[in-house]
């Protein structure tokens, strides 16, 4: 069964003037279809304002479709009785690390979700400990979140989701406000959870180097999905990617430029090692 299934989704922001008449309609999502299998690591990239955050909020039932349907774990987000089960099974991590930590002590924040679910106290403690351990933040459990770095705060936020035992995590630009080190921390934590806890991951970002290890990448523009495929397939189309206000990793671009200059290099090189290997082979064959 699919973890997430999005069918013909459209979402409109309607702006009204003071009299309540419709002033303008902005179609933030326009006919999106998307399937995510259990255990997948999916990345969604797109320029600012391409609709990727709006899409993410649908999966957590924070927004409801204007048209079409979103199913999470087989439950339609349009039905109110599914609301809490959907929010439990598809946790969401937001962009600003400060604005999603509720408590003044790390462990109490991680316990916030389970408390809302009405989990018995002893089990909350177990879950908090396990979740903090999974994101590598156990030693900070009694600290104030204000003393943590951005990357650490995001890991606490992820632990807060993990404590609700979700099947899926949606991360809405979790690294946009972090430094390179914080970004690495967060992305490798998410990969670890995907691999070892079999959590389905939906990572939204505009840092291209964060998506090269995803199972599948979706590119959004103006509310539509305009490209999809493996990272290699996506990044071999450098010109298309750039047209959508995006970028490719620097090595990918270098490989692409070399290919354009006439060197025999395959498409969609993603890592430094890969490029080196190809160049070594080229030299030997010469």
């Amino acid at each position: 069964m699919e973890m997430i299934k999005v069918e013909d989704l459209a979402f409109e922001y309607i702006r009204r003037n003071e009299e309540g008449d419709v002033e303008s309609i902005n179609r933030a999502i326009d006919g999106v279809n998307l399937n995510v299998k259990k255990g997948d690591f999916i990345a969604i990239i797109g320029a600012n304002g391409s609709g990727k955050s709006t899409l993410a909020k649908h999966i957590n039932a924070i927004l409801y479709p204007s048209e079409g349907t979103v199913w999470v774990n087989g439950l339609s987000t349009s039905k109110e009785e599914n609301l809490w089960e959907i929010r439990r099974s598809a946790g969401m991590v937001f962009q600003n690390p400060d604005n999603q930590i509720i408590a003044s002590v790390v462990e109490e924040d991680v316990g916030f979700g389970p408390e809302n679910l009405g989990i018995p106290t002893d089990e909350i403690w177990e879950r908090v400990e396990k979740s903090l351990e999974a994101v590598g933040m156990l030693e900070y459990r009694e600290q104030s979140p204000n003393k943590l770095s951005g990357g650490q705060k995001q890991r606490v936020a992820i632990a807060g989701i993990m404590a609700m035992k979700p099947e899926c995590i949606v991360l809405d630009e979790p690294t946009a406000m972090l430094d390179p080190e914080g970004r690495k921390e967060v992305v490798s934590t998410v990969h670890w959870l995907n691999k070892h806890e079999n959590i389905t991951v939906l990572l939204i970002t505009h840092h291209m180097d964060e998506v090269i290890n995803a199972d599948k990448v979706f590119v959004m523009e103006k509310g539509k999905i305009v490209m999809q495929g493996t990272p290699r397939e996506i990044f071999s189309r450098v010109d298309d990617i750039k047209r959508y206000r995006l970028d490719v990793p620097q090595v990918t671009e270098l490989a692409y430029e070399l290919k354009k200059a006439g060197l025999d290099i395959p498409e969609g090189i993603l890592s430094t090692d890969e490029l080196i290997r190809v160049l070594e082979k080229l030299r030997i064959s010469q």
């Binding site: 797109g46 600012n48 430094d179 080190e181 505009h206 206000r245 970028d247 620097q250 090595v251 270098l254």
Partner: protein
């Protein structure tokens, strides 16, 4: 002729001194900046970059040491701090969070109005600044809060440019923007530097960003200035950079590894274009 614009002479900054929260944020910083330079300031979060740039326009006063601007000691008793703040324009991180006026025009006009120059001159500067950052006339009367993220940021930068600073310091001007938005802002800053000869100091985490634009890089670590060289020299010290949690651009890694494997390539390479040429040259040999 070399004209020294900013000089840091043995600057130390310690805050909350005498308590358990004491922090030595800057340690013996010595620095000379010439008029018209384009400098990248790099360092891990908490390395003291932001503290350093706030010394440049007097928002933070050093615990010890002297700072000279255009040859004058800014800690001298009668020094005009407010005029220094207009000469060294500091654009903070997420500058769009400081917008407050009802229209874009009024917001950008706030800075020059505070300078006490006549209204016409302030108006001219406002128009010029908005033009420089590529905000069209159709947006002058819009509320700054209705603009897109990238537009807001450009309006905020115009707010500083309108004061006609001699030095422009930008703290992470591309944070949170998408790749194209990032390139647009950086290109605009670069052409501004080229056309008006303004001194630019770019604070950033991203080596890729600075490599393409600046001609000098300052690297900070734990409050000390640990490197001060041109980009290729800085990036050639891969090991040292990694020790202080920084990384060179990916292409630099490619070139270093190729060199180790015996390719006849120059490792002092910082951009994709340079790397491409080097590799083609190396393979043809």
């Amino acid at each position: 002729m070399i004209f020294l614009q900013i000089v840091f002479d043995h600057i130390d900054y310690i805050y909350s001194s005498g308590t358990s929260f004491e922090k030595h944020a800057l340690k013996d910083i010595n620095l000379k900046i010439e008029k018209g330079e384009f400098i990248g300031l790099i360092g891990h979060t908490g390395s003291g970059k932001s503290t350093l740039i706030q010394h440049m326009n007097g928002l933070i006063k050093a615990t010890s040491g002297r700072i000279y601007y255009n040859g004058e000691d800014i800690y001298e008793k009668n020094y005009d701090m407010r005029s220094l703040r207009s000469k060294v324009g500091l654009v903070f991180q997420y500058p769009e969070h400081q917008l407050f006026e009802t229209t874009v025009y009024k917001d950008v006009n706030f800075g020059p109005k505070n300078l006490g120059i006549d209204k016409l001159e302030a108006d001219i500067r406002t128009y010029e600044a908005l033009k420089m950052v590529g905000i069209g006339e159709d947006l002058l009367d819009a509320s700054p809060f209705e603009l897109s993220g990238g537009q807001k940021r450009r309006v905020a930068i115009a707010g500083i440019l309108a004061m006609k600073p001699e030095v422009l310091v930008l703290d992470e001007p591309t944070a949170g923007l998408d790749p194209r938005g990032r390139d647009e802002i950086l290109d605009q800053i670069a052409s501004l530097h080229e056309e008006s000869g303004i001194t630019v100091i770019l604070v950033t985490h991203s080596m890729e960003d600075v490599a393409n634009y600046v001609d000098r890089i300052l690297v900070m670590n734990r409050g000390s200035l640990v490197m001060d060289h041109e980009p290729r020299e800085v990036f050639s010290r891969l090991k040292e950079l990694e020790e202080i949690h920084l990384a060179a651009p990916q292409v630099t890694y490619v070139m270093h590894t190729l060199r180790e494997k015996g390719f006849p390539v120059n490792t002092g390479v910082t951009t994709v274009d340079e790397a491409k040429n080097e590799i083609i040259k190396g393979l043809k040999l």
